[in-house]
Subunit: 341 residues, 2 copies
């Protein structure tokens, strides 16, 4: 199993008793070094032919000065678009062991279990037109288009309502419809789709208020659905409830093709090679891959239980370490997990 | 003095020994009821002819179902645009008395003093084109344009650098330049303007990371400069550091004309008429009006000291009340303040 936790790999499911066939393919910085492109055509092909993509973080200081089109992020955005993974699921679950690791008070975060459903292949990330031009006054301008179509909102809304049904049955749709037309359409379509899910309680919230409520009373949320950039911002804010970004997995799924499973954290180039990174977000991403991408829910539970057991036993990587706990490195945590399984 | 704290008023400065001449003019819900428009032409004229505009919150349940163009928010956006108040200053200061009121741990928020400088009359709030249309597939779409020109970024950058000079000399520019062209231009222009302020330390941060760092380590920030919608979201998040939105003032200034001074909080229609609202954000907005709008820094300090004194003396409105403190209503707090002055 342990190799399932390696990074930048695509995975082909074979049997329920879990034999994974791995194909490794470079993306982001590694791909730039190897091929000059952050998303080589061959990588996209390999991903398309796989049952799921287990993805590692993609950037680093080394590539920060490249022109935008050649930067590692473009590889990530290209892969999301290339696979059409429109539904990005970002859970923010506060494990009881770690409720003190947050900058928020224990009583505020204890028991938090939020699922953020972020639209991932539309909105301002991909909207056309975009670019640089000169305006009527002769000044240089930069511009992007935040745009959603009815079918784009419908499909993400269905995913969110169906997830909410399996959770506490409450869905909060986040937008800025008091200012933006794109948000008015969003709200209207989500409301209409909601009529098909009478068992889900739908509420609406402006994005500024949501950023506030996530900090003020995170337990008030169950499932959140929102657009690409609002989801980017809110999921990072929500990640802080859990105390460590090193704990947070994500799943990005499409209607049919392979999904992408990756930790929410970045590549943390500042600690590269020191064997101190927290591998749990990657392990939990592998669990999401098994649950949402490969239909192996038992394997998913198995992995999640191992993570809980390791934490129960007091093992912590540096980012989560508190007095009295057993400090382990990245590979040390890996060994603990295999023993816990 | 006390009438300076009343709402929806414009104020004309007369003398340094503080005789205010007030003209009241409706905006938002009150204006819709009186005239059908959220920003009557007469209101805009009165504001233009004043030295400063002291503004109250503008919405309420009653007007929530109106079509977007007629909603209270349009009055606010119209006033900002009409007066060209491009620089919105939103301080998030954690007063020692209230460090426990936050959902964040005392040690995380104690001593926080952040100034968010939000661009207020550009970006996606006002960008053209915007609206609804049908795309090539025949689907209905809603869209908005996030756009900034070089001069727009330059002028807000100058305001932010000059504020940072008077503060701790650190400015963090927040954008999403790893994805958006509008942010690439923003970053480039802010960097260039920064060359004129070698005494200010300029850093750059992506908006998702900023949403995280504000929660994780708010003391790491001094002054933040960002675009309209990012500023909307981040300032609401930052407001939570202080424990009560009822404490937060804001100032919106232009290059020459009158500024707008208003609390960050909304109209809180759920508690209207109960005399329990916290008036301190409005009082502190009046202080910002004196400092940034009327060049009456002594009056500003006077007001701010009265607020501190009232808190020192243990007076709290319901939103801030904790055991052992003296609970007062909105008008009660007003009386306490006049006694403290
Ligand atoms: C790296 C960046 C392009 C990406 C995004 O903005 O989507 C990241 O922040 C994320 O949330 O996955
Ligand atoms: C009411 C709304 C239009 C406004 C905004 O988004 O600017 C408010 O949220 C604010 O921050 O002042």
């Amino acid at each position: 199993m342990q190799q399932a936790f390696r990074c930048s790999q695509s995975v082909t499911r074979e049997r329920e008793d879990v034999n994974f066939q791995f194909t490794e393919a470079p993306i982001g910085g590694a791909a730039i070094d190897a091929t000059g492109s952050p998303l080589p055509e061959e990588t996209l092909q390999i991903c398309r032919q796989s049952d799921a993509v287990l993805l590692a973080a993609i950037g680093g200081f080394k590539w920060d000065q490249l022109p935008p089109e050649q930067r590692p992020e473009r590889g990530l955005l290209g892969l999301r678009a290339g696979l059409g993974t429109f539904a990005n699921l970002r859970p923010a679950v506060v494990l009881p062991h770690l409720a003190d690791a947050s900058s928020l008070k224990r009583e505020v975060v204890e028991g938090v279990d939020i699922m953020i459903v972020r639209e991932l292949v539309g909105g301002i990330y991909f909207g056309q037109p975009r670019g640089f031009t000169t305006n009527q006054q002769g000044d240089r301008v930069g511009f992007n288009t935040m745009i959603y179509s009815e079918p784009e909102v419908e499909r993400i809304a269905h995913v969110a309502f169906q997830l909410a049904q399996k959770r506490q049955g409450r869905l909060c749709s986040v937008e800025k419809s008091n200012v933006l037309e794109v948000s008015m359409l969003w709200k209207e379509v989500v409301t209409r789709v909601g009529e098909q899910y009478p068992d889900v309680e739908l509420t609406h919230m402006y994005v500024d208020n949501a950023a506030m409520q996530i900090i003020r009373n995170p337990k008030s949320f169950d499932t959140i659905v929102t657009g690409n950039i609002f989801g980017d911002i809110l999921s990072d804010a929500a990640s802080m409830l859990t105390g460590s970004l090193g704990m947070l997995p994500s799943a990005s799924t499409s209607d049919d093709g392979p999904g992408i499973f990756e930790p929410v954290h970045g590549s943390a180039p500042d600690i590269a090679g020191q064997d101190i990174a927290n591998p749990l977000a990657m392990v939990l991403s592998a669990a999401m891959m098994c649950r949402y991408g490969l239909n192996l829910p038992k394997v998913a539970e198995h992995l999640e239980r191992a993570v809980s057991a390791a934490l129960d036993a007091g093992y912590r990587t540096a980012d989560l370490h508190t007095p009295g706990m057993k400090k382990v490195g990245c590979s040390g945590m890996g060994e603990v997990l295999t023993r816990c399984m």
